[in-house]
Structures are given as structure tokens and as C-alpha cells.
Symmetry: C2
Subunit: 251 residues, 2 copies
């Protein structure tokens, strides 16, 4: 922040690299003006044909947030963070536009995909904007544990699809950065590599991951092991019907 000789790119890439998921926050509030400023800048993210298929709901009510701690599997930061938001894919405004223009609204998987991607592009801009202000963030996928109840709590109309939560606040913790996949496993040339090549990259990464978990937790864990356990059973099977009940069509 005080080194005037760094370029914008150097500063931004350093900010990206300094990202940590923060799960412990001080009780410092997150000012309304700052939230508004960050949301407004984040809205400048790319959006497919300018549909801007997202909305963000700030939850302040202490009871609601305490209930969400339970619903997200016991994540205290949902109540504790200076601010908590629910990120939604928003097709409601599109439905209203169709009604006002006396046209049909025909959604399908393409529509769903566009609005989910729009929401995530916006969310990542927003996360970085908060982080540039020295705040920490934590996305809460556990919001999807019980979407029908989230839906009732927020009185979400037809077309509004809650996707994930976001805690924002002053960090009260300095976790280690978790290593990422080797860039060679992610940045590919012309084609997707053969399984044997991808497995070599995964081996490299598992060696690094094992080291990280030994240092951090004294346990020998690998990325492969974690990912395999994660996908062994289908999770959150209610999503299909829930989104359908909110108007999503698949084909």
C-alpha cells in the first residue's frame, strides 16, 4: 500500500496471492458505505448480454444469523463476521421484464448456467474489493445444506436462487495459504492432456499437499484422498427439486 514503485499489476497479483479463507473475525462492523462502494465496483464485472443475473442480500438480524450457523453445519463465523451476505442467482428481474414487455420467459439449463456464472463473476470481484480494504472473506457453500429453509427465511420470490453465503469482516486469524494445483495441471495447451500426464501433475501436487498438512496439522493427507472422499457420496440431493420449485427448467 505504501510502495509507490509497484505497478497496478504487481499490487493486484500480490493481493490475489494473499487470499486466505478467514473463519475467525473480530467484532468490528463493516460500514454500509464501504459495502455499497464494493458492490458498485463489483457490478462492473462482465455479465452475459448485460443480464446481470444476480442479487446479494445482507443479513443483519442476529436470530437469522444464529439459525444459519446451525444450518450451515456449525460455522460460527456466519454469526460472528462483521457482515454476512447471501449471493443469489436472480432470474426474478428477468421474469418481471418479460411480463412488462408481454413476452414469454423461457428458462433452461443455458439460462441457469448464465445466471450462476454471472453471480460468481460478481462475487469474486466483490471478494477482492473487500480484501483490498484489508478485510477477510469466507464463502459459505454450507448455505446449500437446507435451501428450502433459506428460501423461507429470506422470503425469496419465484426466480431467486440462493447459491452461497459470504462472511466479511476484520480477520482475527492468519491461516497459512493452502497450496494450489501446479499451474501445468490447470493451464493447458491446445488439448486436454492424457490421464497419465494429469496423474503426474496430481502426484507432484500430492507431495506438496502432504507436506502442508504435516506442517499444519501433523497429519499425512493428500489432495487425491480428500477429493475422492468428498465425491464418494452424492451431496445435497435436494437441489434439483428445490431449484425447479423456484422456476428453473433444465431442458
Amino acid at each position: 500500500m505504501d510502495d509507490g514503485k509497484k505497478t497496478d499489476a504487481e499490487r493486484l497479483l500480490a493481493l490475489m496471492r494473499s487470499h486466505r479463507t478467514i473463519r475467525k473475525f473480530t467484532d468490528a462492523p463493516v460500514p454500509d458505505g464501504l459495502v455499497r462502494e464494493c458492490v458498485e465496483a463489483a457490478q462492473c464485472a462482465s455479465t452475459s448480454s448485460n443480464v446481470q443475473g444476480y442479487a446479494i442480500v445482507r443479513l443483519r438480524d442476529a436470530k437469522t444469523r444464529a439459525r444459519l450457523v446451525e444450518m450451515t453445519g456449525g460455522q460460527p463465523q456466519v454469526a460472528q463476521a462483521g457482515a454476512f451476505f447471501v449471493l443469489c442467482a436472480d432470474q426474478r428481474r428477468h421474469e418481471l421484464a418479460a411480463e412488462d414487455e408481454k413476452r414469454a420467459y423461457e428458462g433452461n439449463l443455458e439460462t441457469f448456467l448464465v445466471d450462476v456464472i454471472d453471480t460468481a463473476l460478481f462475487a469474486q470481484n466483490l471478494a477482492l474489493a473487500f480484501e483490498a480494504h484489508g478485510l477477510g472473506i469466507c464463502f459459505i457453500g454450507g448455505l446449500r445444506n437446507e435451501l428450502p429453509e433459506v428460501d423461507r427465511m429470506l422470503a425469496l420470490p419465484h426466480g431467486v436462487l440462493p447459491l452461497f453465503g459470504m462472511c466479511v469482516g476484520e480477520p482475527d486469524d492468519e491461516p497459512m495459504a493452502r497450496p494450489r494445483l501446479p499451474v501445468e495441471a490447470v493451464l493447458l495447451e491446445e488439448r486436454y492432456p492424457r490421464d497419465a500426464e494429469m496423474r503426474e501433475q496430481m502426484d507432484r501436487y500430492d507431495a506438496e499437499t502432504r507436506e502442508y498438512y504435516l506442517t499444519r496439522a501433523g497429519k499425512s493427507l493428500t489432495w487425491r484422498g480428500g477429493v475422492a472422499r468428498k465425491h464418494e457420496q452424492a451431496r445435497r440431493p435436494h437441489l434439483y427439486r428445490f431449484f425447479e420449485s423456484k422456476g428453473v427448467r433444465w431442458r
Copy 2:
């Protein structure tokens, strides 16, 4: 870049606000080292349980890119930009991990959603990283016009799901910024507003949008009108079956 007194937050928010979709590029190449640096920083974006469900394929072959110009509905920048990438949700590595660990891989809508969101969080970080270097970007949703052919061209294995393209290069154009929805239409308090309130915001926005299109194109157009036309007919109906053929399960 040269004002040392600006804070990191001021610089980053200014960068976000300066985002424009660039559709015309000079023929300046995008150096490999710069791409690698940006991808590596972008990988630090949040990822659900560290699954990192994405991959990015750089396409250099001129024939492939010329063919993609047609397939995306005639967007010359796909061939012309210094670099072109295909962003994929990547479940292949997860399938390999399951196989290596002798566990089942059970995907469903939750898995699909997680990997799509991971991909978009990464993509937005990447877009900003390029923009901080003074480059312009353009996401190409038209990649989804003919996904089975994209799939063949890139020899994508089971589990790799192309989602959108991305042009990157030196801008040869300075388009006006398109106004976004009023922040009040996107940043909500405690609940989703009633239709009448949302329509008031849409009215405000349509007034602004009409002004913008009159200035830019001499036409009286509204956001509502554009959105309504866009959703009148279901688009890209092949996505459901295509993703299913790549291993996606919905429930």
C-alpha cells in the same frame, strides 16, 4: 499506476470500474510468461473444499480459431486477439482421484454447481489480472453454441465441461462503459423486495439505459426490452444432453 498516494483499494476499485468488453484487439501477442503469472495468481481464488474444479485451455492453432469464429456466431476477435482460451469446469481430475483411491465418483447438480462456480471465480480473477497488465478481455458465451464440436476439437475427455471462451489482448478500441443496474436493485437488505419496488429500480435503470443507447447508437432501447427478447425463446437446448454425455448427473 503512477499515483503513489492511492491506496490498494482505490486502485483496485478503479480498475474494476474501468472494465470494458473489448471486441477489437491489436495483433500484439500475449507472452507465455505473463499468462502463466496471471493464471497462477488467479488460482488463489476461493475454491469449494479445495476441489479446484476448473481448467483453462489455450488455443493457438489458427485453423481452430478461425473455425471457432464461425461457431461463436461470427466473432472475429476469437481469431484476432493476442490469446484465446477455453474455460472448462473440470471433473476429470476428480474422477481420476476417485479411481486412484478406489472409491466411487458420484456427481449431481451440487457437484456441477460447485465446479461451475469454481471456474467462474477463477475466471474473474484471471480477467482482472490481465486487465491490471493493461490488456483487454472478452468472455465468449457463444462457445456454447456448438459444444459437441468444441468437445471434439479439444479432445476433451469424460468429465471436462467447456463453459465459455475468453479473448485477451491489447485493446484496439475504447468502448463506452455500459451502465449497470442501480446498486439498490442488487444490494438488498434482509429480504428480497416486492415486485413493485424492484420495478421502480428497473424504471430508473431503463431511463439511464435509454440515454446510453441514444448516445451510443442513436436508438431508444431499454434493458427490460433487451432482457425480455433474450429470454423469449429457450436458447442452446443441447446443453442438458451434452453435459450428461460428459458425465454430469442432475439428481
